[in-house]
């Protein structure tokens, strides 16, 4: 009897090479004769380009070529936006290299190709560019006014979107309680630890691109569409990729330009960004102004919720820019029942780096908004924030439940997660201490923050994408082949960049085929090896890609059963399959699937209609999203004299359905929670009045270190997903979605008796102190 692999805390197969430096980061790779590319970037937020002269760079030592935007004009196409969800979306032309106008600081205006990066950097200095400055457009409200400069000829509105369910007017009419708040979701810089890099080579006929991407498959198709390089002549490889968090879910200007440079020069070219370049030009995340109104009965029951968002698109619409805030349309109502709901959003162009997916993409923003509102409602009613949530959430016996915004949550148990979290947290004891500190007038006040979240992930059902104007679907591909020696090769269309797919998929396959965990290898991230896929984002890998692999295993066992019946001279129906072996029921005679693989390979004695291979190929399209949920509780100590916030304890009880590998799940939650806390306390992309990014380096953009964060206490409840055979839900974004409001709610909770009702993120000591000062005056 073999041990079940799914559910075991297997140490990762990926670790060995990462721990010893035998890594394949794109910047580690080289081809004979590789040339290095550097881009000259606009120092202006908004300007007409009146002259670019690259001649000074040509002829400098080591310089092979120098180009301006005009040199690419005929072939560079326009960077794609694949999800203009709202019908009125304006998708402006977006040349990979600016030709006549720049719209954000950092936009590429010229490039140098040289024999090494030092030579290339020297030569950039010799390029001359003249600009005619135009007014920067930075504030979303001003951008929509009549007097604002236009980012694009069509104006500064990218789209409007509105969806209403129920009778909103009735919900607000005579409502005993109406809460009206405006929250700001600041702009963030995703900051994956590996900077982007691209290496592109050609043999004169076809092209291979190695790039630090989450989406090799989507990128290949998009590069073909943008540049006209035939898709079958283009191979894209995502080698080791050092984190993404959505920031590498993109078709970048640099990828397009490196492909064009390899084509122009007929030589391998490589570009590796510096971190400062990356802060300017890797898409940013969040950046919304949220105006929320909530109507409730006197007992706390929600009658209606109205959401009005302004979402900063930045200067252009990149791959998913306009779709990200609109994921909020299904999410602001969260775990709560209500009579009426309206979601409206206006996308706004500004002269800043475009925004796009960053860990959670639209759902952290929504969860922050509603969870802040629930605390405001509780405060208004002088009710415990958990109690007001209990009165409104979907009860566990009500699943499956179709929400007011139209999604059907398949499973969940908010009561169980909350009960476990409050017990682990010592909720009542901390409330007692909080009261004690309040009574004493302690300068260090205690705050308790609650976040009871859910989210839609496992993106997603192709039918839903189609109904919502997306350019592609949401299936995933998996294939499994049992080699002649019985070892198993798995190919997945998911493209990992730190998640641990190789380990987790090995566990799934080991169980499904009854083979040892060690006998499974997983291949990915190369369109020549993994020909089909929709890649990794939206916490979709396990719930779609993992299930595709499981279904591929089922197909393999079906094939093996036919062969086993032939070899064992019985009917397929007489065979039991357990622990990797087919046994004729009631006898001892059996064949393992690994033995059958050799028989299939030898093909000496195959039944009619059975091919000489034990392999399979599956695409899986989910019937629904996955809805992880949980209760996060945060206790903060706020020094009312300095504004300093210290997280004293953090408890997270998450329900991600069945768990394949608890080590990996906990790791995802740890990292996710840290990123959400970072939004609450530390991070913000800041532009000055001229549109210069002030946080363009890691010295200026505050990423938390180990010294800035506490340990997290984690636990789980388990409500298996009913939408897939493993019962699994996504976990990649859950921590980030949950933690930001937990922290801010805790800070506001600490200061509410002193009259503070909100602190804008990031809640730096200065912001907290000023919030207190504003009240003191």
């Amino acid at each position: 009897m073999t041990t079940q692999e799914v559910g075991r805390p297997r140490k990762r197969k990926e670790d060995a090479r990462l721990l010893t430096g035998r890594t394949q980061w794109t910047d580690n790779l080289s081809r004979p004769g590789t040339l290095h590319v550097m881009f000259l970037r606009s120092p202006m937020a908004h300007a007409r380009i009146t002259r670019v002269d690259v001649s000074g760079a040509r002829g400098l030592p080591g310089v092979v070529a120098a180009f301006s935007g005009q040199d690419f004009e005929a072939e560079q196409g326009s960077l794609p936006c694949a999800w203009p969800r709202s019908g009125d979306t304006v998708v402006p032309d977006h040349p990979p290299m600016a030709v006549s106008q720049v719209r954000y600081v950092g936009e590429a205006v010229a490039c140098v190709v040289a024999t090494d990066r030092y030579r290339a950097a020297d030569a950039l200095e010799a390029i001359e560019v003249d600009y005619e400055q135009l007014p920067a457009v930075l504030d979303m409200n001003e951008a929509l006014g009549d007097s604002a400069a236009k980012v694009h000829e069509t104006g500064n509105q990218a789209f409007t979107f509105r969806e209403t369910s129920g009778d909103l007017e009735a919900a607000f009419r005579d409502a005993p309680v109406v809460i009206d708040r405006t929250f700001v979701q600041q702009r963030l810089i995703p900051s994956a630890m590996e900077p982007r890099a691209v290496l592109c080579d050609t043999d004169g006929d076809s092209f291979t691109m190695w790039t630090s991407t989450q989406i090799p498959h989507i990128l290949r198709t998009m590069l073909a569409l943008v540049t006209g390089v035939a898709e079958h002549k283009l191979r894209v490889v995502a080698p080791d990729v050092g984190g993404g968090f959505g920031s590498k879910l993109q078709v970048t200007a640099e990828e397009v330009l490196c492909l064009l440079l390899a084509r122009k020069l007929g030589r391998p070219v490589k570009w590796t960004e510096s971190r400062s370049e990356g802060n300017l030009t890797v898409h940013h995340g969040r950046d919304q102004i949220q105006h929320l109104r909530l109507a409730a009965d006197a007992d706390g029951r929600i009658r209606g919720l109205q959401v009005e968002l302004l979402a900063d698109m930045g200067a252009y619409l990149v791959l998913l820019t306009p779709a990200v805030p609109l994921l909020g349309a299904q999410m602001f109502n969260a775990i709560y029942k209500m009579d009426a709901y309206e979601f409206a959003c206006t996308g706004v162009f500004t002269t800043k780096m475009p925004t796009d997916a960053y860990r959670g993409a639209g759902r952290p923003e929504a969860t922050f908004g509603i969870e802040r509102m629930m605390d405001e409602l509780a405060a208004e009613l002088r009710m415990d924030p958990l109690e007001v949530r209990r009165r409104n959430w979907i009860k566990h016996e009500e699943f499956p439940y179709t929400t007011i915004s139209g999604l059907t949550y398949d499973s969940g148990n908010y009561e169980a997660a909350t009960d476990r979290a409050t017990a682990l947290f010592g909720y009542d004891k901390l409330r007692a201490e909080q009261n004690d500190r309040r009574d004493r007038g302690d300068p260090v006040q205690l705050g308790i923050g609650v976040s009871t979240y859910t989210e839609m992930c496992g993106l997603g059902p192709s039918r839903w994408f189609g109904e919502n104007n997306a350019g592609a679907g949401g299936w995933e591909h998996g294939s499994v082949r049992v080699l002649p020696t019985g070892k198993v090769e798995v190919v997945t269309g998911s493209s990992p960049h730190g998640q641990g797919h190789v380990t987790a998929w090995s566990q799934i396959v080991a169980d499904a085929l009854g083979v040892p965990f060690e006998d499974v290898t997983v291949l990915h991230g190369d369109t020549a090896i993994s020909p089909k896929g929709l890649d990794t984002y939206g916490s979709r890998s396990l719930t779609i890609g993992g299930i595709a692999v499981l279904k591929a295993c089922d197909k393999v066992t079906d094939k093996a059963r036919k062969l086993a019946a032939h070899v064992l001279e019985c009917s397929p129906d007489d065979l039991e399959f357990e622990a990797g072996a087919f046994t004729v029921r009631g006898t001892g005679s059996q064949k393992t699937i690994q033995e059958l693989a050799l028989a299939a390979f030898a093909a000496h004695d195959l039944p009619d209609g059975v091919e000489a291979r034990l392999d399979s190929d599956v695409t899986f399209d989910p019937e629904n999203f996955s809805f992880p949920h949980g209760t996060h509780l945060c206790a903060v100590e706020v020094d009312t004299e300095t504004g300093m916030v210290k997280i004293r304890s953090y408890v997270a009880v998450d329900d991600v359905g069945k768990v394949v590998n608890p080590l990996i799940v906990d790791g995802q939650l740890h990292g996710g929670i840290a990123q959400g806390i970072a939004q609450a306390l530390f991070e913000e992309a800041v532009y000055d009045a001229d549109g210069n990014l002030l946080t363009a380096t890691m010295a200026d953009y505050l990423l938390p270190s180990a010294a800035d964060l506490p340990d997290f206490a984690l636990d789980r409840t388990e409500s298996p997903a009913t939408s897939n055979p493993l019962g699994v839900k996504g976990v990649g974004e859950a921590g980030t979605i949950a933690s930001t409001p937990a922290v801010v709610n805790a800070i506001v909770d600490a200061l509410r008796p002193r009259g503070v009702a909100d602190v804008r993120m990031p809640c730096t000591p200065e912001r907290v102190w000023r919030a207190l000062e504003g009240v003191r005056r």
């Binding site: 721990l19 010893t20 270190s705």
Partner: protein, 160 residues
Amino acid sequence: MPRISVTVDGIHYEEDVEPRLLLVHLLRERLGKTGTPVGCDTSNCGACTVMLDGKSVKSCSVLAVQADGCDVVTIEGLGANGALHPMQQAFHEEHALQCGYCTPGMVMAAIDLLREDPDPSEETIRQGLEGNLCRCTGYCNIVRAVRRGAQEMGQAVRTP
């Protein structure tokens, strides 16, 4: 061009280098030691941390000429005879890495931390690793791994 003499992971090199060449670029682009990655350009992230004469340095903040006459150990030279160093092993056991990009620097910084405090508390570890950023793990398992690595290394010293 100045000529430098440097030992990297036990191999001796004589190299002619531009005075402005960074140590990390010498390692990565001249000597093929790509195990040490670069994560930033302001010496904040620590991904490029190596040992220079037994002390951790951020190799993006050291010129190659400054390493003249020095002994450099990178993540690639840490293990002995094909076995992982106890700190590398501890990172594996505790799932202290996800994407792995910060890992080489984090492991080197952790080993250096133990030089000063062989049995560090959680607080000491957190403060001691302040110069090394990780975006994946939230540091929880890194802290555990360093504790474990410290215990293993203490063990290794005690049992001859």
